[in-house]
């Protein structure tokens, strides 16, 4: 059960029970993320100010991994520029998909999600919020984002 306790760390279970930034931001850029096969669905709100993410929040329903990932992501993004957010997306994506051999950047609190890489079927859960964020920052699509 060690991989399992690595996946479901207390921090993740806490974010699942009490997600941070779980609210609507009126007037912000709004982007839907939806994985139709599993039914995970979230709406991300990103408020930019002078090229910087001033506020970011989400609502929706999903598994503990997708909810905790969205919650931790919103904490990490505040104050970042669009380019910094995209760079963080790449680092996070590398962390949850890489094998053990390569070095991974220290992603602080986001590192609790590193255990996902041992569960290939759950990578799409952890990455849904991030792909949704990428689309919201670029604001290049009105269609829901999916990681399935």
């Amino acid at each position: 059960m060690s991989e399992l306790s690595e996946l479901y760390q207390e921090v993740i279970l806490d974010h699942n029970r009490r997600p941070h930034n779980f609210r609507v931001i009126e007037g912000a850029t709004r982007q839907e993320g939806y994985n139709p096969l599993c039914g995970d669905r979230l709406t991300l709100y990103v408020a930019m100010d002078g090229g910087v993410i001033k506020d970011v929040a989400f609502q929706g329903s999903g598994c503990a991994i997708s909810k905790a990932s969205a919650s931790l992501m919103t904490d990490a993004l505040k104050g970042k520029t669009a380019d910094e957010a995209r760079a963080l997306f790449e680092q996070f994506h590398a962390m949850i998909t890489s094998d053990h051999s390569g070095p991974t950047a220290d992603l602080g609190k986001l590192s609790v999600l590193a255990g996902v890489r041992e569960f290939p079927t759950r990578i799409k859960c952890a990455s849904l919020a991030w792909h949704t964020m990428k689309a919201a920052v670029a604001h290049d699509t009105d269609a829901p984002v999916s990681t399935e």
């Binding site: 399992l4 039914g39 598994c63």
Partner: protein
């Protein structure tokens, strides 16, 4: 037609003469994969509605086919082609017998249920439907019995109507009767719901639909591994199923069609084997059912399907169903006792499926934790998003049974669910 045997009958049969009429341990020994270990634990396979496991007899038949008979069918003059053709047509004859169809020529061999439904929609539907005609579906349908009809509706201007379900997950039969009209051209209904396990009263529905002048397609994907099917007694126009749900290989399926309808239907796909003669001026199509089987088919798959049908023929299927019903009843009672568990779909007539949710735990998380303990279930929408929407839930945990499942499998599931709760609640 067999419907879900009552549990009383099940116990009577099992208890007869102190001997079980159905020896589940013997059956389990026929399925090599059940000896597999996953994450260091014995495999507990509760995902047969997704795809069933395959008995040794099916694996051997397919291996033998490639070793001793492989050649293309219906065309070469050599011995191997003769063997391959005989085996392929033998598979068709077995499928006809399995469904009690009047003649093997009423059996079209397909890639699976989805392929069969698309064939009927695009061939029968597209050649007969007009704008304003109605296609009647139900709220229980799998996406594969929804989307082909939506495509057809877009092409023809036909209108789709959907029969609602009640809280138990049963069709609202009053609504069904009210929705049938002279505009109804096609009723497409699942025999057994993949998401909830509900057995629909299809015989009565077929009679009512015929009285309204509609043609009926029955999606039998989930019924074939459990129930005895008699297309003549049902009097349905089309019956479709997938080999892989009934202990045969993937990529193979059966479409039964009423002979008079198949005769009138235009080809679905063009290619080799479906033609009688080809010139650039005019191509003559082959006769039914070959008209609908363009290209080199999945011969080994049909051989495997034939072996699966033979395997089922060697089992007392009433006794097997009684065994499955008893395991389902046990599973329902045991899961109901897990704190926070809520069963989704409590129809009076059910087979093979237990769908449920656990309060405070998303089904995916439960699925991962169960998997770590060797218990394979499906979590998600089960390709039945309307059913999930109807019950206002994003997903369920679905334990689904095959003839090889036991009460011990259910005990492992319940033990796993307690572990899920330990971690989450």
């Amino acid at each position: 037609m067999a419907t879900g045997s009552s549990s009383v009958a099940a116990h009577l049969r099992q208890g007869f003469g102190g001997q079980a009429a159905f020896d589940v341990e013997k059956v389990r020994a026929d399925f090599p994969i059940l000896a597999e270990r996953v994450h260091g634990k014995p495999l507990v396979y509760l995902d047969s509605a997704n795809t069933s496991q395959k008995p040794e007899a099916v694996l051997t038949a397919m291996d033998d086919y490639y070793r001793h008979a492989n050649a293309n069918i219906h065309r070469a003059t050599h011995l191997l082609s003769e063997r391959a053709t005989a085996l392929y047509e033998g598979g068709r004859a077995k499928a006809a017998a399995f469904l009690n169809a009047s003649h093997p020529h009423t059996i079209v061999l397909t890639r699976g249920t989805t392929d069969g439904i698309n064939l009927v929609a695009q061939s029968y539907g597209r050649s007969t439907l007009k704008a304003g005609d109605e296609i009647l579906l139900t709220w229980l349908e799998h996406h594969s019995n929804i989307v082909p009809w939506q495509l057809l509706a877009e092409q023809t201007g036909a209108v789709i109507k959907v029969v609602p379900i009640n809280e138990a997950g049963e069709l609202e039969m009053d609504q069904f009767a009210a929705m049938l009209s002279s505009r109804t051209r096609i009723l497409a209904v699942g025999h057994v719901s993949n998401a909830l396990g509900t057995i629909n009263p299809i015989k009565a529905m077929i009679a009512q639909a015929h009285a309204a002048g509609a043609v009926v397609l029955v999606d039998g994907a989930q019924a074939a591994p459990h129930l005895t099917i008699d297309v003549q007694a049902l009097d349905c126009d089309f019956y479709v199923l997938s080999s892989h749900k009934m202990f045969g290989p993937t990529g193979t399926g059966v479409l039964y069609g009423r002979a008079a309808l198949l005769e009138k239907m235009p080809p679905y796909q063009g290619g080799g084997d479906m033609i009688a003669s080809v010139t650039f001026e005019k191509t003559q199509y082959n006769q039914v059912p070959y008209k609908f089987e363009a290209g080199t088919p999945n011969m080994a798959g049909v051989v495997g399907l034939g072996a699966a049908i033979d395997y089922l023929a060697g089992i007392d299927r009433d006794a097997a169903l009684a065994h499955e019903d008893a395991v389902l009843e046990y599973a329902t009672a045991q899961v109901r006792q897990v704190p926070g568990a809520r069963i989704i779909g409590e129809a009076r007539h059910k087979t093979g499926v237990l769908s449920f949710v656990l309060e405070g735990v998303h089904p995916h998380d439960a699925g991962t934790i169960l998997d770590q303990q060797g218990v394979a279930v499906r979590t998600g929408q089960h390709c039945a998003q309307p059913v999930m929407d109807r019950f206002c839930i994003p997903a369920t945990i679905r334990a689904s049974l095959g003839i090889y499942n036991t009460r011990e499998d259910i005990d492992a599931l319940v033990h796993g669910l307690h572990k899920v709760r330990e971690l989450f609640v």
